[in-house]
């Protein structure tokens, strides 16, 4: 069996979790989160098995790299959920994990031939730091989207739920329906932790942790690159695009610390930064892998 076929197990389980969330009538969230944790354990086992296959050198195929990235993202989401008691965050953030898993499933799985022997610890640090930074920014992106939607609701004063009717239909009219969208949609409205201040705080936390990780990752990356090509002067597109991404987050962090930028504008910048990350990843892995030194 091809190793990447195992990737499909967490994908299916994640989809199953959402199905449970929609269909189950009593305590659907508890079942959902149980399935998510269970899937995460499965995902962890696959990651360890995958990395073990390459003796944890991190010189791994792109598909495993993306799978590893999705695992880090899921880990961060779960940690944030536990830390901030913002339980509904998993509902919103898991789709991006699923997307990463799908990408990993369809990504090429050919082995990478390391062009140069580099210090493996630095390479591991480079990859882990960059992926952690990216994952934190991915979470920041999700949080920013929720923030913008929530803020929009508050500004337009539409669809604001202030009474938690417990998702129960006392009249029993819609009990029999499989997809009671109104009932199920409540999960996306009634997250108690979803106040703007918390979303903004979490976003800031992502930035505070993600930025140093990204910076260190890029610095190590440049060092590795110079070691690889023997010259720091040869600037590659990946470095330019990384620098732009880094600059966006640097501006965001500076504005936050110095001028107290927060709320909508901070969320917008977070979204812009994440789009740049997607572009970076796209550039480095698919479009011009040679620029990253992967070929």
């Amino acid at each position: 069996m091809i190793f990447k076929n195992y990737y499909f197990i967490p994908i299916l389980l994640f989809f199953l979790s959402y199905a449970v969330l929609y269909i189950k009538k009593n305590n659907p969230y508890n079942s959902f989160i149980f399935l998510i944790y269970f899937t995460f354990v499965i995902q962890s086992v696959i990651v360890i098995a995958g990395l073990d296959k390459y003796h944890f050198t991190m010189i791994i195929p792109i598909d495993l790299m993306i799978f590893f990235n999705s695992w880090i993202l899921m880990l961060i989401v779960i940690l944030f959920e536990l830390l901030y008691k913002a339980k509904y965050i998993v509902i919103y953030a898991t789709p991006i994990v699923i997307a990463a898993l799908l990408v990993s499933y369809f990504a090429p799985s050919m082995d990478i031939n390391a062009i140069l022997k580099v210090d493996s610890w630095l390479l591991i640090a480079h990859i882990v730091l960059i992926l952690t930074g990216d994952s934190l920014f991915a979470l920041a992106f999700i949080l920013s989207l929720i923030y913008i939607l929530q803020e929009r609701k508050l500004k337009l004063k539409k669809n604001l739920k202030i009474i938690n009717s417990g998702n129960k239909n006392s009249s029993g009219k819609n009990e029999g329906r499989l997809f009671n969208f109104r009932r199920n949609f409540n999960y996306f409205n009634l997250g108690k932790g979803y106040n703007l201040e918390l979303l903004d705080n979490m976003n800031y936390q992502c930035l505070k942790l993600g930025f140093p990780a990204l910076t260190a990752g890029i610095v190590i990356g440049i060092y590795l690159s110079s070691a690889l090509f023997k010259s720091v002067a040869s600037v590659k597109p990946i470095e330019i695009i990384s620098l732009i991404t880094w600059l966006i987050y640097a501006i965001l962090l500076h504005e936050r610390v110095a001028k107290g930028l927060r709320g909508n504008k901070a969320a917008m910048l977070s979204i812009a930064g994440f789009i740049m990350i997607i572009l970076t990843v796209g550039f480095s892995l698919y479009l011009f892998p040679e620029f990253h030194g992967l070929k």
């Binding site: 500004k155 604001l160 202030i162 106040n195 703007l196 001028k259 930028l261």
Partner: protein, 489 residues
């Protein structure tokens, strides 16, 4: 006597129009002037002084004008819809040139008689409120009644209507669970604050003005454990009084009204409920404050009508402004509960309204009784005088006694028929059969007093205490004579 209620509320109109109306009846003096002018304009329009009683209910969610107009749809006034006339006059008075605007006219509703009573009882029982079951409305109606009494605008009908509405509201509150857990404006405000702030306990509240709603909302926020509350009011004494009311809460500071600006840089929640007729917090003022706050979000709740915070402020990022209409709409969208209780409450209201209309209808027969007695009395006196010596002192007593004997049965039947809602025919019949000339609208104040006494006596009579009725008959007959003499004059 017709009861007419016209006005606008949060359901029929938007806040802008309610504001406009509210400004014209903001103070006691303005309200008194309003009533005076409406009466004058009505007299000019109809040529008769028919508005006998009046009252104004003015809250942040409604402005309602209640009138008791003498004369009903019978007789000369058959084709005149006084409700429409009054509505027109009020709209004309309030909006002047905009009078013809159809949209505006639709905002004003008009209820008459039974519908009006039903509506009024619903309002008093808080069934028509923005937040069903909220307790403030009854207090506001009591204040309106006191004011109407102070200006001597109420009379027999409205006194009874108000008292009955208080009774009805009390019944609704005690016999249903409608007020058990009302989703109030304060509740909604706190819930909205929770959507903006993560932890309310470290937030500071600024209470601008000491309006009733603001006061309640402030208390609600204190219950949620806000860290500090700043109170300010133009009249400092009121702020001090409110601070005293919050004696269980220590972190309160009274600040000078001119200095509330400084507090805006530290306060996270601002409750505004002043009686000012213009914006206190303006768009251009809040922008520098937000910069000074380093973009920390600020939640503004404007519970005042007219609004005291410029609605444009909501466009500034990290500023969240909700006025009373916004909160009302949110509550409405969130309320599908308590409908059953509201149904129970409506049954009670139906009962009480029916009871009241019965009483009111029984008033209609008074002029008929008076005229009928007068007619029979007159005929008997004239006929007896032909055969008995004019100077016989007993003649008056004999006439009264015979009148009572003859008319006791028909009067009782007319009254009962009137209460049972089929009385119009009997009254009409009596008028036609005895050729009675009734012009209710022309009854003078003095006559009304006499009528009141007669009515009370008749009420005793319907209880079946005939002996009592017979004993008091001469006294009331004299009163009737006095009434007729007055009319003749």
């Amino acid at each position: 006597m017709e009861i007419i209620i016209t006005g606008l509320n949060h359901k029929s109109s938007d806040i802008i129009h309610r504001e406009e109306v509210s400004k014209k009846i903001l103070t006691k003096e303005l309200r008194n002037e309003f009533i005076f002018n409406i009466k004058r304009l009505f007299n000019e329009e109809t040529g008769k002084q028919l508005i006998q009683e009046s009252a104004i209910i003015s809250t942040c969610n409604r402005a309602e004008f209640i009138f008791a107009v003498s004369g009903n749809s019978s007789g000369d006034n058959k084709n005149i819809d006084y409700g429409a006339v009054i509505k027109n006059i009020i709209i004309k008075y309030l909006f002047g040139d905009n009078f013809g605007n159809e949209e505006l006219r639709n905002m004003f509703y008009t209820y008459k008689n039974f519908e009006a009573i039903l509506h009024f009882f619903k309002v008093a029982s808080s069934l028509d409120s923005m937040i069903i079951g909220e307790p403030q409305i009854l207090g506001q109606i009591k204040e309106s009644y006191n004011e109407a009494c102070e200006f001597k605008n109420t009379g027999l009908i409205l006194n009874k209507l108000f008292h009955k509405s208080f009774y009805c509201a009390k019944r609704v509150r005690t016999e249903t669970k409608i007020a058990a857990a009302p989703v109030s404006i304060s509740y909604a405000a706190v819930e909205l604050a929770k959507k903006i702030f993560n932890d309310i306990s470290n937030k500071k509240v600024l209470l601008l003005g000491t309006g009733e709603m603001g006061k309640i909302a402030a208390k609600h926020f204190i219950k949620q454990g806000v860290s500090e509350i700043f109170i300010t009011n133009r009249t400092r004494e009121k702020a001090v009084k409110l601070a005293e009311e919050l004696d269980g809460y220590d972190s309160k500071t009274i600040i000078d009204f001119n200095e509330y600006y400084k507090i805006l840089t530290v306060a996270d929640i601002v409750l505004c409920s002043t009686g000012a007729d213009s914006y206190i917090i303006k768009y251009e003022d809040i922008q520098p404050i937000i910069k000074m706050r380093k973009q920390r979000p600020i939640f503004l709740i404007d519970i005042s009508v007219p609004r005291n915070i410029d609605p444009e402020i909501n466009k500034i990022s990290n500023v969240y402004l909700f006025d009373i209409d916004d909160i009302g709409k949110i509550i409405e969208n969130n309320l599908d509960v308590r409908q059953q209780e509201a149904d129970f409450a409506e049954k009670i209201i139906d009962e009480e309204a029916e009871d009241f209309i019965n009483w009111k209808n029984s008033l209609n027969v008074v002029p008929i009784i008076v005229n009928l007695r007068n007619k029979v009395n007159g005929i008997l006196s004239a006929e007896l005088c032909k055969y008995i010596n004019n100077k016989d002192e007993n003649i008056e007593a004999i006439v009264n006694s015979i009148t009572n004997k003859i008319l006791h049965e028909p009067i009782t039947k007319i009254k009962r028929a009137e209460v049972d809602f089929n009385g119009l025919n009997l009254m009409e019949a009596a008028k036609i059969l005895f050729d009675l000339d009734i012009n209710i609208g022309s009854i003078s104040q003095e006559n009304k007093e006499i009528e009141k006494e007669i009515l009370n006596a008749e009420e005793d009579g319907t209880d079946g205490d005939n002996a009592n009725n017979a004993n008091s008959a001469p006294y009331y007959n004299n009163k009737i004579i006095q009434l007729n003499n007055n009319k003749a004059k």
